[in-house]
Symmetry: C2
Subunit: 214 residues, 2 copies
């Protein structure tokens, strides 16, 4: 699936690739595979929630206290932020801007609230993809298969999933994840195509000038 390296290498602007879905629709699996591609990295969010086992500070999230988070919001240091189940999550602006300027893409694993805010601050750079589960029954099955969760948590997740699904029509692309391989191919095609959009390939102006005879 990885394209060959071009002979003519054009400068391009990076893009913000947003992947949203209700939990249980396969977003985590797709994200992990997408990060195997060249020139795309995950945005590391800051959060006020406690670290879970095996989560590494600065890799999975940057864990901050409420006061620090509030100051970041106030200072405009966050591209988007949201409150999910009582915890704050946000995306620091600086590292994202540095990646885009270097022609790198940034992957965002955020919900509809974060996506709306991101579009407000960086409209043209955002490519948003929403993953839907193949059926409501399959969604519930996937949510229940995380054995450690209580019935209350499963029900809360189902409600959260319903809330998330309500916002599908705000996304550029909407995929039904009924086959992981095909969905992965769909997502890779979207990334490859969006990188080729004329307005992102800023190097074209210089390149085309070399084709002029007069």
């Amino acid at each position: 699936m990885a394209p060959k390296e071009p002979v003519v290498r054009l400068q391009r602007r990076g893009l913000l690739f947003v992947l949203s879905s209700p939990s249980g629709a396969g977003k985590t699996t797709i994200s992990k595979q997408l990060l195997q591609e060249p020139d795309i990295k995950m945005s590391v969010s800051v959060t006020t929630r406690a670290a879970r086992k095996q989560e590494v500070d600065g890799v999975d999230y940057t864990f901050v206290d409420e006061a620090t988070f509030a100051r970041m919001v106030k200072d405009g240091d966050l591209l988007e932020h949201a409150n999910v189940f009582g915890h704050h999550y946000g995306t620091p602006r600086r590292p994202v801007e540095e990646m885009l300027a270097g022609g790198q893409d940034v992957l965002f694993d955020i919900d509809w609230q974060g996506t709306q805010q991101l579009k407000q601050t960086a409209r043209d750079s955002v490519v948003s993809v929403f993953l839907l589960p193949p059926s409501i029954r399959e969604l519930e099955r996937r949510l229940r298969s995380r054995a450690q969760d209580s019935e209350e948590i499963v029900q809360r997740r189902m409600q959260g999933a319903q809330e998330e699904i309500r916002h599908w029509a705000e996304y550029d692309y909407v995929l039904v994840n009924d086959d992981l391989d095909r969905t992965m191919g769909d997502v890779l095609s979207i990334l490859r195509a969006e990188r080729l959009r004329r307005e992102r390939r800023v190097g074209l102006y210089d390149y085309v000038s070399t084709l002029r005879t007069s």
Copy 2:
């Protein structure tokens, strides 16, 4: 490259896939391969020029006289039409509309003039791709390698190529065809991604309603 058949089959609107380039940039080769994909067919143009050897009426072009062409223009039977080197070319409206309604895509091998007109009549359905040659030297080499052409024709083609290249910035995607395999992969990714755009997948509304619990 061909994606697996989805389990959930969503109704979609067809799109008009426009491929433009100066002659010698590989458009014909790419078009032929693209037509091997499912659910995409070539638009057959009408033209007033004489049939070349091996061209089949109704397959390569529909060959008509000047009076017939003029009447089609007057009656609004053409989606776009253009005059190229003294000959008229146009796209009949009816077969295209029938294909789109049936969820089929239509491939257009037309120049910048035709593309502009097509965008005026069918803006949201048009996906336009422009192919650039890897260099001006390579373009001239490809144009000269058609051994049967006179120097005058080669020079006229070079001028026509320059005129065409001037319009690259009017296209959604601009590709440098420096490697045929990669360019083909790029074009297939664009087709696959554009088919997945939310606004084309009209079946999503019904589908999402099956995911609601309340």
